[in-house]
Each structure stands twice: as structure tokens, then as C-alpha cells.
Symmetry: C2
DNA sequence: TTTATATTTGCAACTTGGTTGCAATAGTAA
DNA sequence: TTACTATTGCAACCAAGTTGCAAATATAAA
């Protein structure tokens, strides 16, 4: 189900994403939110936000679930298919603006592409 | 640690990968191997095979760990960076031969790229 | 062949991410 | 206010993956 009511918890979670284009893992959110919030609540709100086209989700290098703000999505269309960069040093995940060309694969219908680049971020390089 | 001894279990596991270019999830292997094998053993052997450059691993769409045969890797160099295709219908994962161009990202050092294409495979399309 | 040594395995217990059912709470519209 | 429905917290659960340790087994040396 998509977001129907603008509760305090929904607002608080949305604020976390509004500022940056970095992605946030659910685990991080559950641990570090200023107002403590039950983990099932966090999972459920993020889920609804994704269905509403406000967030998109993907799996990071260790199998953790990450969410980040969508740029131009709706509940019908998740067109915001950009690559993500995860730092092998600090673990941070960034959304990238670069476009990746996805090849056509014969006899396959491609619906979604998840590109995760792994390496060192600016901070960890120095 | 890399593979040091050619045990029966190591051989059995390797046979699973030898035939096809499909990837296999650890969960699948633990459930379906003809000769039952403890799951920690499976995890450890696959781990060692990856370190030896015989297999590479990646995370599928549900956070499960998958392994597939390397083409030209060694324990020093995992150069076998190809995209994977996972079917949204049956869950099967294939290794693709198509090359994906990875853009340079300013102020970032990219060490690895994981590309997971999601869609319908040939069987599930018909 | 036998012995010695280091690697590998099974087991059981554990850790952790994520899910679920249900009763209590809180938005929203009338 | 009231009534209705969405949302939340809680506790219990499930499944993937990890770990420590004692027993088993491959391999090299004698």
C-alpha cells in the first residue's frame, strides 16, 4: 500500500532523504534516527514510500537494503534508473547521475538494471 | 584461504558449475546437492574457490549470494567482470558475455562494477 | 605402508536482516 | 465528536550466513 497519511514518523524519515543524494540503509536508519522508531515501522514506511514513487531501493554489496530519493518517478513509473557507488572503505553509498548503456539481450526482456560500482570515495582516497 | 586439497566435496561442488554458465545460489546448492553437505561446508568451499579465482560471487535481487564460474581469473586478478541477468519469473541467473561500459566518476576510484539486469528469461517469456 | 601434520568437515549454537499477526494508537473526513 | 481506516509497536518468528571446536581426512614424509 502507498502512503496515505502524513504521520510524524513519515515526515521524520522523509527528512533524512531530502537533503542529500546519498542512499541510506535501513539498518543505519533504525540505529541512528533521533526519535527511536520500531524497525518494522521503518521497513513499512520505506516500502510505502517506494510504492509512492518517492524512494527507490536496491541491495548493497553486503546484501543490505538501501533506499534513496527518486528524481522523477511516480507510483506507476520508476524511471529513475541510475547507477550507485558504494565505497569499500567507509561503506557509504551515493547515487550517480551518469547514464549507463544497457545492451539488448536476445530472447530476454529487460525490465530493470541495477548497477553498483565499488571503489574508494573522495574522503577515503585521501 | 584458497583451495589446498582436492576433496570429494570440493569436486562435487565444482561439477555443479562446470557445465553451464548459469549462476547458482548457495541456498539452492545446500538444498539440492545429491550428496548432502553441511551448509557451513558449502559456504566455506565456495569462498575458497572464489579466492582461487575459479568462481566469482555477487548478490542477487533478494539479497541471496550467488556464485558462477570465472572465465579468465586468477587468485590475483578477478578480471571477469560481466553483467548478470536474473529472471523475475523463475529467479534463474545467467552470466552474460556483453560488455558494459563503466563511466569514470570524478574523485572516485572504481575497483569493481556489479551489473544485474532484471527481466524475463526466454522460458518465462513464452 | 605407516606416521605425522595441516587442512577440511560437521555440528550446534549464534548473529543479524527482514517479516508477520495482532492489539493499541492516531489521522482524517463526516 | 464520532466513526472509520491507516499506522504503529511489540514480540515472536524465519532465513541466510558465520563461528568455535572437536572429529575426520588428504597429503607429504619416513
Amino acid at each position: 500500500m502507498a502512503i496515505k497519511r502524513q504521520t510524524a514518523t513519515v515526515k521524520l524519515l522523509w527528512e533524512q532523504f531530502e537533503e542529500s543524494r546519498d542512499a541510506l540503509s535501513v539498518v543505519y536508519l533504525v540505529k541512528h534516527l533521533k526519535v527511536a522508531m520500531n524497525k518494522s515501522t521503518v521497513y513499512r514506511i520505506l516500502d510505502r514510500m517506494e510504492e509512492s514513487g518517492k524512494l527507490h531501493s536496491f541491495i548493497g554489496k553486503n546484501g543490505l537494503k538501501w533506499y534513496a530519493k527518486c528524481q522523477d518517478c511516480s507510483s506507476e513509473n520508476h524511471i529513475d534508473i541510475h547507477p550507485h557507488f558504494q565505497c569499500n572503505g567507509c561503506g557509504k553509498v551515493e547515487c550517480l547521475t551518469e547514464e549507463i548503456k544497457i545492451p539488448k539481450i536476445s530472447k530476454h526482456q529487460i525490465q530493470l538494471a541495477q548497477v553498483l560500482l565499488l571503489g574508494k570515495c573522495e574522503t577515503c582516497l585521501n
